[in-house]
């Protein structure tokens, strides 16, 4: 859905990444050409969706958050100083709106917990954090191993790797920055997460991943 397949690992032949196309789309939009923005919406919505869902936002609300992120982009089209940073802008905007939604949801939950027949833990109302791919998808043994290995990583590593897997490689910096990985150590953090994953994978047996 995104350019992940052709972007990895070292085939940047086309030269343009999602981040580049986002910058072009914004510039075009400012000049009254809306087509590139439409294409960007198609291409980047999956990344926004998974960014929002990674914050624990429920399905219905996540849909609205993604929608309003795109609306916000159009509203701010003339005030975003750096078209180059528009992908990061989108990710940060989506993530903040997601946090806000989670906070509101928790407040609502708290109010509702006053009801006597609610359990104190309220387990049924917690957002589903880690949906599983269905059995069909996990038929391939390597997919099963990859998925279970991913679950063994710290939460932030999981989030980072899921999102960068959907992006073009040179755009990782935007994702890392939007996720809020410590400045200066972002590249190495991603490297560490991926290295950990590879180590766990290697322990599972001698598979060829290429």
């Amino acid at each position: 859905m995104t350019g992940s397949r052709e972007a990895l690992p070292d085939v940047d032949g086309s030269g343009l990444t999602l981040g580049d196309r986002a910058a072009i789309a914004l510039t075009e939009y400012r000049n009254g050409n809306h087509q590139a923005l439409g294409e960007l919406v198609r291409e980047a919505t999956p990344l926004l969706w998974h960014t929002v869902r990674a914050q624990g936002v429920e399905q219905d609300t996540a849909e609205d958050v993604v929608q309003s992120t795109w609306v916000a982009l159009v509203r701010h089209a003339d005030t975003i100083a750096e078209p180059k940073a528009v992908l990061k802008w989108l990710l940060v905007t989506a993530k903040r709106a997601a946090w806000e939604a989670v906070r509101k949801h928790r407040d609502d939950e708290k109010r509702r917990t006053e009801l006597p027949d609610d359990s104190p833990e309220h387990p049924t109302s917690l957002p589903a954090k880690d949906p599983l791919p269905d059995a069909q998808v996990l038929r391939d043994e390597r997919d099963r191993i990859l998925w279970t290995s991913l679950q063994k990583l710290p939460g932030r590593c999981q989030e980072l790797l899921r999102l960068v897997s959907l992006a073009d490689r040179p755009d990782y910096r935007y994702i890392s920055a939007a996720i809020g990985m410590p400045m200066g150590s972002i590249g190495s953090t991603r490297g560490r997460c991926l290295a950990k994953l590879r180590t766990i994978l290697d322990e599972q047996g001698d598979f060829s991943w290429t």
């Binding site: 995104t2 992940s4 990895l8 690992p9 919406v41 198609r42 919505t45 999956p46 969706w49 998974h50 869902r53 399905q59 219905d60 609300t61 849909e63 929608q67 309003s68 992120t69 795109w70 609306v71 916000a72 159009v74 509203r75 701010h76 100083a81 802008w89 905007t93 709106a97 509101k104 609502d108 049924t124 949906p131 599983l132 269905d134 998808v137 390597r142 997919d143 990859l146 998925w147 899921r162 897997s165 959907l166 490689r169 040179p170 990782y172 910096r173 890392s176 920055a177 990985m181 400045m183 972002i186 590249g187 991603r190 490297g191 991926l194 290295a195 590879r198 994978l201 991943w209 290429t210």
Partner: protein
């Protein structure tokens, strides 16, 4: 909801420091990430019409209406969209009425969607506080339909084609700004 990110003066610095294009990725890393991308998509697929709804929402952005927030209750009926999606999946229309509540500051708009003749949808709405409101129904490729709320804040659209739609609500006396619902699937 304030969607404006804080300006970040370190953007460029982050870009320079965060990623070394000649970094540690090898072919195996690339293959693992590609495989992971498929799993991520399969685990939590992007809802079918989210792109289309977002595109329509963008076209409405020029109306300068503040977007209302939908309130989804954790009722056993998992929410109107879930139910609508499930209904779409087996290609039958949902038979019972669905209710969605939208809020923005002090304004609350509740709408109830129920089947109307000819496979259409009836929208019954109720706004509070019950000031005189004009309610516009926006749909892609169709002229805007406008109605007004009565003195109790009630309004209705009696037979609307299914599909994407957004309501834009304004005070008739012109006070306050316009607000809009997110684009929903009727």
């Amino acid at each position: 909801m304030d969607l404006t990110p804080e300006p970040n003066k370190d953007d460029e610095a982050v870009g320079d420091l965060s990623f070394d294009p000649k970094g540690v990725l090898d072919a195996g890393d690339g293959a693992v990430l590609t495989r992971l991308a498929h799993l991520v998509e399969a685990a939590d697929p992007v809802p079918d019409d989210l792109v289309e709804r977002s595109l329509f929402a963008i076209t409405l952005a020029g109306l300068e209406a503040e977007m209302m927030e939908a309130v989804y209750l954790d009722a056993p009926l998992a929410g109107v969209r879930g139910a609508a999606a499930a209904a779409r999946a087996d290609d039958t229309a949902p038979a019972e009425a669905k209710t969605i509540t939208f809020t923005h500051d002090s304004l609350t708009v509740m709408i109830s969607l129920s089947p109307a003749a000819g496979g259409k949808v009836r929208i019954d709405g109720w706004a509070a506080p019950a000031a005189g409101l004009s309610v516009e129904l926006h749909r892609p490729g169709v002229d805007v339909v406008t109605t007004a709320s009565d003195e109790d804040g009630r309004f209705a659209f009696e037979a609307v084609e299914r599909g994407r739609a957004s309501l834009v609500v304004r005070r008739i006396d012109g006070g306050g700004g316009a607000v809009s619902t997110p684009v929903i699937e009727l």
